[in-house]
Symmetry: C2
Subunit: 177 residues, 2 copies
């Protein structure tokens, strides 16, 4: 699959893996990008860049691959870090938001005291696909009373129209397919 835009030259560090996690899906493997010091730094710098002067209090990362990027972006922005986790992983009182799967549904959780009301949060994940997890994560942050100042992805799969589920939000993706 050709990348539509790749200003930072990052796509050569992303591998297509056919039929993973199941038949018919082409998985975007970002591990070569993470593993290369220059590519990793470029990606983090570019994920953070639009938000440098936005007074982001915390960066929220979506479990698990979002964690790999969110910690680094938080460090870059001088922000704190909020883990948005799968069900049952967090030890204290949580807030929840559901999203639909192909069959059934799943949910994301964060601690009920993870953010102060009104604080500005940047949401980070590796891939924007159908947008279900990202939209649920946005709802979760809004339940906290936080302001979602932006949403940044390493990769956006344009043909899946996930961005439609995130309307009214500033969505920033480094690489489009």
């Amino acid at each position: 699959m050709e990348a539509i835009a790749d200003p930072a030259g990052l796509t050569k560090f992303i591998r297509d893996v056919p039929d993973f996690p199941k038949k018919g899906i082409v998985f975007k493997d970002i591990t070569p990008l993470l593993g290369d010091p220059r590519a990793f730094r470029t990606a983090i710098d570019r994920l953070a860049a639009p938000f440098e002067d936005k007074h982001i209090a915390q960066v929220a990362g979506v479990e698990s691959r979002g964690f790999l990027l969110a910690g680094a972006v938080a460090m870059k922005l001088g922000a704190g870090l909020i883990p948005i986790r799968k069900k049952g992983k967090l030890p204290r009182r949580v807030l929840r938001a559901q999203y639909a799967l192909e069959y059934g549904k799943d949910m994301v959780e964060c601690h009920a005291d993870a953010a102060r009301r009104g604080s500005k949060i940047l949401l980070i994940d590796d891939v924007l696909a159908t947008g279900g997890t990202a939209a649920a994560s946005v709802r979760l942050l809004e339940l906290l009373g936080a302001r979602v100042a932006g949403i940044a992805f390493l990769i956006e799969l344009d043909f899946l129209n996930g961005r439609k589920k995130l309307k009214n939000h500033s969505v920033h993706s480094l690489i489009h397919y």
Copy 2:
């Protein structure tokens, strides 16, 4: 539980949660530390500090909480990032290392091409408890042919003697209980 050493003043950002994930275990909840911009930066700076001049090529983080720290430490050190994942999560050919659980066993995996032979790697996780996961992660990195230049934890539970499983390695923990 009192901290034995806390030079950076980080323990006030760590909460004890009794009986999580199961009865009798006191869970160390690090989410307040992650969420606070200054505490997070202090923790990352101090995790990275002993390795600043060690020419670390890559930082390996253990899924999932290790990912939150490892990405930020990699950024700080100008290194790449290797995700050490739970079974079945990585799309390409993997190497595996097993470790014992209370009942049964589990394994960690990384891509077989995740590191160059001889490259220096810093292993990061949030908590050193019994040391099973950390020791398996070290074996995994050695299977890759990499050199484990150090192992850094936010928290070490001294009374569980996990460090014994990591002998011959430089182990660096910010907070001891």
